[in-house]
């Protein structure tokens, strides 16, 4: 039982860790904090592993836990009157903003997106969640999520001077 539980956890960790870390990093923009959040999230998942009936639902389950960890973190920091949007750009190297690669400008633009646009975009494009699932995570209505996703892409396109429109 114990060995099975360990193997199951290791398999889930291997499958989920890259997405969870990237998601956390795109939200908090601090690699050290992202690591701690993912660690706390996965240790909580480890403790509650037996409540996860279907491993196919593991990603949504873990994202929910991670979002709660992040909310707890911001709540603890709330009274510090920190401009959380200033922290992101603090770790430019971790976000690949210093890279000469072609992604650098796009990463910079993503990092500068307001969180209400950046989070649903990350959930959809990076983690592959449906609009309905994102609406569930963020406790929003589906049309609101769609609007935010569209707006996120338009802002990115504007920042990169890319035209998404085609003549009707």
């Amino acid at each position: 039982m114990n060995a099975y539980r360990h193997r199951r956890f290791e398999a889930l960790l291997g499958a989920l860790l890259p997405d969870l870390y990237r998601y956390a990093l795109w939200l908090c923009h601090d690699p050290a904090l992202a690591e701690d959040l993912v660690q706390d999230c996965m240790l909580r998942a480890w403790r509650k592993l037996d409540s996860l009936r279907d491993d196919a639902a593991a990603k949504s389950w873990a994202i929910t836990i991670l979002r709660r960890e992040l909310a707890r973190h911001w709540e603890r920091k709330r009274l510090d009157t920190v401009d959380v949007d200033a922290v992101p750009v603090a770790d430019a190297a971790a976000l690949g903003l210093d890279d000469a690669a072609e992604h650098a400008n796009l990463r910079r633009a993503i990092a500068c997106l307001p969180e209400k646009y950046r989070e649903p975009l990350t959930l959809q494009v990076l983690l592959g969640h449906s609009v309905e699932e994102i609406a569930g995570f963020m406790e929003l209505k589906v049309p609101t999520v769609l609007t935010r996703l569209f707006r996120a892409r338009k802002l990115l396109a504007e920042a990169l001077d890319v035209s998404l429109e085609v003549s009707a």
Binding site: Q39, I110, R153
Partner: protein, 231 residues
């Protein structure tokens, strides 16, 4: 149900890979909207590639190590029973021992759980990263402390704190800034192959620790006069 060009583009703008029957039907009927969807999907490919940041290689091991040390729910009864037994049999050690002996032990345990912190690095951490770690760890440095090879925000006894590593005379020296841990006077310790001191700084303290004989003392002097709390 058919959709208009406006409805199609609003939906595809939010979900470029949507494949509802009505959307597919409109796509077949409208070349401009089909081109719009193609363009959105290509742009999404670029976004997806940009979102793929490298993941630290040590993170999975770190989490597995922690998980092995923590019992899950099925083992909890056994763990609680074992804990009660340990507590009952260990009462004689007294609260004083637990209070005074536990901080160095906790510090060393924390260091042992982040072995990568003591690995050689090619370059010191950047000032922005260091400042961010210090800021979230409720601390700042009032002056230059030299190169810092590792800086991470960690949870320690319910608080976030800055975990730093700097080069010492004979090897890396860990400096943990503990704004919430008070000691009345410097408390040197030897623990599990490490030597160090919990050194009082204003209303908090700093833990300066190295492997035995690596020489942490100069680092204490360097940090003690420069650490300030921002609580």
């Amino acid at each position: 149900m058919s959709v208009t060009c406006l409805e199609f583009r609003r939906r595809i703008g939010g979900e470029p890979n949507a494949r509802d029957a009505a959307l597919i039907e409109h796509r077949h009927a409208c070349r401009a909207c089909a081109a719009f969807q193609d363009r959105m999907q290509r742009f999404d490919g670029r976004i997806a590639a940009a979102l793929e940041l490298p993941v630290p290689e040590h993170l999975a091991d770190r989490i597995l190590f922690q998980a092995r040390r923590r019992p899950g729910r099925p083992q909890r009864f056994a763990a609680i029973a074992a804990t009660v037994l340990v507590l009952l049999s260990g009462v004689w050690t007294g609260a004083r021992y637990l209070n005074t002996g536990s901080l160095p032990q906790a510090v060393v345990t924390h260091i042992e759980h982040e072995p990568d912190a003591l690995m050689p690095v090619s370059a010191p951490v950047g000032k922005q990263h260091l400042d961010a770690v210090l800021k979230w760890g409720d601390a700042r440095l009032d002056g230059d402390v030299g190169p810092v090879s590792y800086a991470r925000l960690c949870y320690f006894r319910g608080h976030l704190m800055a975990h730093l590593v700097v080069p010492g005379p004979n090897g890396p020296v860990t400096v943990i800034l503990l704004p919430h841990q008070q000691v009345a006077k410097p408390e040197p310790f030897h623990e599990d192959g490490f030597a160090g001191v919990i050194y009082p700084v204003e209303h908090g303290s700093i833990a300066v620790v190295s492997h035995r004989d690596a020489g942490y003392e100069p680092i204490v002097r360097r940090f003690a006069s420069k650490v300030r709390w921002t609580l």
